[in-house]
């Protein structure tokens, strides 16, 4: 299977703090990679690097053929291939759910409005929110808002989806409905990289688990890794129930 995301020796510092100390990672098409680790381990930063939301100090990033570390990178092209969903949903509050979803297809891909509307209805059906098309974000629950955010990303038909702790702001019940949508996406073959604290989800859905610690990939492997940690750090991380 072809490699969709490739990180090689990423180094990144914020001022005096080195958050990434040589991170390498490879994601093949159709894989679901769960990145786990404590706060401050660099997992979110690594994820954001994939979508060129952070500049790196050294290393190489290749995503769907785009050389992300290159200063000549065409960000707009990269973002047609990469979708990202954040913990805080970041829906546009002044637009309805349908308008949120249609905005980028119409403005960026120049899709006619009727076609974009059709697309919006399709992706909303995929996340089970067909009846919310004309609602405003403030009328949605957190779980619904997050599913809309996923739908909005899907509407751009990305080749890989990134999820940055998308359920961390939700209560357990709402977390379930978002994870269910992600599980279906995975089953449909979407390539996914997620930073998560949901160990059960990582166990069941991920094809690869990456444990980050102190800015490094500390351990990685199949989800069974979580049952047989090789390092004391991962053992402690799992035992703390985080």
């Amino acid at each position: 299977m072809s490699v969709v995301v490739e990180l090689r020796g990423l180094h990144k510092r914020f001022g005096a703090v080195e958050v990434l100390k040589g991170v390498s990672l490879s994601v093949r098409r159709g894989e679901v990679v769960a990145i786990i680790g404590r706060s401050g381990s660099g997992k979110s930063t690594a994820l954001r690097c994939i979508d060129a939301l952070e500049t790196i100090d050294s290393g190489e990033i290749e995503v769907c053929g785009h050389r992300v570390h290159d200063s000549a990178l065409d960000r707009a092209q990269l973002r047609r291939d990469v979708g990202i969903v954040f913990q805080s949903y970041n829906l546009f509050p002044h637009l309805t759910v349908a308008e949120n979803i249609m905005l980028a297809p119409v403005q960026v891909k120049k899709l006619p409005r009727e076609q974009a509307r059709q697309l919006a209805d399709e992706v909303l059906a995929r996340v089970g929110l067909s009846d919310k098309a004309n609602h405003y974000p403030e009328q949605l629950s957190g779980g619904q808002a997050q599913r809309v955010a996923i739908a909005r990303s899907l509407a751009m038909q990305p080749q890989v989806m990134l999820f940055d702790e998308v359920t961390s702001a939700l209560d357990p019940q709402l977390t379930g409905e978002v994870l269910e949508v992600m599980r279906q996406l995975a089953q449909q073959g979407m390539t996914m990289v997620l930073v998560t604290h949901e160990m059960a989800f990582a166990r069941q859905v991920a094809t690869q688990v990456v444990f980050m610690h102190q800015g490094r990939v500390w351990e990685q492997g199949p989800p069974s890794l979580l049952d047989h940690p090789a390092t004391e750090e991962l053992r402690a991380f799992i035992a703390n129930g985080l």
Partner: protein
């Protein structure tokens, strides 16, 4: 010496109309230039930002009174003679209000939460489309109360246009007083007329501010 009469009231109302006219010119001119300034202050090219910054500093650091004189005599020196005082006053008011409105709006644009900009960027929206469809609609909401509030400043500051011979409300009051010598009556009336324009604006601004807070909570 004539007693204060309805002719004088009519004259004052005429002055009031010119005050309103000049205010509208200042708001439209200042708004247009100010919007350009706000965008220039956030431009990705440093020289553009620096230029806009310098303009704002210069205008905010110059008394409006001096801008009025510069507008009036400046046009004369540039060879435009016998230009109506309204033009000089309009230009001075535009320069003045653009610098303030530009800064108010820059602040409002920047106060649109960073994640909103980022979310748009991640969908491939950058530059003008991102501003137009994501940032400005949200900034507009934030900007309305302070903008309406600044309109009050515009109205009151038009009184300085009297120095270039523009007969707006304050100047009309001065002329009426010169003829009737009833300063207390005349200026109380003038103050009342200013209040009639400014108070509804302030009240509207306060209401908008409250509405904004409620919407957020």
């Amino acid at each position: 010496m004539p007693n204060f009469n309805w002719l004088h009231v009519g004259f004052l109302l005429q002055g009031l109309a010119w005050t309103l006219g000049l205010s509208v010119i200042a708001a439209l001119g200042g708004g247009a230039v100010g919007f350009g300034l706000a965008l220039a202050r956030l431009h990705r090219l440093a020289p553009v930002r620096a230029l806009a910054w310098a303009y704002v500093q210069l205008m905010q650091g110059t008394p409006l009174l001096i801008l009025m004189f510069l507008g009036y005599f400046g046009f004369n020196m540039l060879g435009f003679q016998n230009l109506p005082a309204l033009v000089a006053a309009g230009v001075a008011m535009t320069l003045f209000s653009s610098a303030y409105l530009g800064e108010i709006w820059r602040g409002c644009i920047q106060s649109v939460p960073r994640p909103q900009w980022e979310a748009a960027e991640c969908l491939g929206l950058e530059g003008w489309p991102r501003l137009r469809h994501v940032v400005l609609p949200q900034a507009l909401r934030i900007a309305t109360p302070p903008t309406v509030g600044f309109a009050v400043q515009i109205v009151k500051n038009t009184s300085l246009a009297s120095v270039v011979g523009f007969v707006e409300l304050a100047q009309a009051g001065k002329l009426v007083n010169n003829s009737t010598f009833q300063p207390f009556l005349v200026y109380a009336l003038v103050a009342g007329l200013y209040f009639l324009i400014c108070w509804p604006l302030s009240a509207w601004s306060r209401r908008l501010e409250r509405k904004l807070h409620v919407g957020r909570g």
